[in-house]
């Protein structure tokens, strides 16, 4: 899958591989022994956040789960 920043696709895939392994083998099993993906995430984010700004994608300042706040409980 491609990143919205064309230059970031390889970094994204590298991070995704790390995350998917950590998620299934550690996170879901309650293993809190630390995140092996911090560095690769950082590299990926540096790239993709720059692409987001360059493309003027209006993600900034959007509250997490924002629109959910005015909805009734599931």
């Amino acid at each position: 899958m491609n990143s919205v920043g064309e230059a970031c696709t390889d970094l994204k895939r590298e991070y995704d591989q790390c995350f998917n392994r950590w998620f299934a083998e550690k996170f879901l099993k309650g293993d809190r022994s630390g995140d092996p993906c911090t560095e690769t995430f950082r590299r990926y984010q540096r790239c993709v956040q720059k692409a987001i700004k360059e493309k003027d994608i209006p993600v900034d300042g959007v509250d997490f789960m924002g629109p959910n706040k005015d909805k009734p409980e599931s």
């Binding site: 899958m1 990143s3 919205v4 920043g5 591989q17 998917n20 083998e25």
Partner: protein
Amino acid sequence: MVKYFCNNTDIKSAWDHVVTAFWQRYPNPFSTHVLTEDVVYREVTADNRLFSRRLLMKTNRLPRWAERFFPGGMSRSVYIIEDSIVDPVNRSLTTYTWNLNHTTLMSVEERCVFKDSVEQPATTQLKREAWISSSIYGFSKPIQEFGLARFKSNQVKAMKGLEYALSNLQGETPQRLLRDTVKDASEKAKEAAKTLASAAAVPQKPQQYV
């Protein structure tokens, strides 16, 4: 005026698999309209829940009559945010998805909650809700109807895409937990064909394309 939609489905896979596959469902044969996918925020909270934000870019396929609402310079792509919370202790995944642009034309918000099925073992129940609205003067009703129809058709694709990701996961040995892209899968099929052609053939699991 908002159109509300709600339904419940059972997914015949355990919650752990569904949640793992959730991150790996793109690309899939049903998601050709999804052009890019990025994680733009992620955090493990103090109470060990995983908060994530994904940014998706999708093509915006409109019927002819709706295209007149698009002034020439407007982007054809739709940016979508998907925020999610994985709670591994309470075994729930909640996602909230909405479009960032083209909101005057149509705003679609969707909330999904994935939990263990109460009735059936190794099954996940999905409760899906959507809120669809349009602000185009005089056309909001047909646009909302179109939006709802497209939402339902996208729902079917999304479920097929998730099942595709699940079948890739479950067929794999632990080392192969990581999903290949669709292109890599066709490379593997080529390799498999070569291997079968040679004397020392090892039986290969057939690629699962729906």
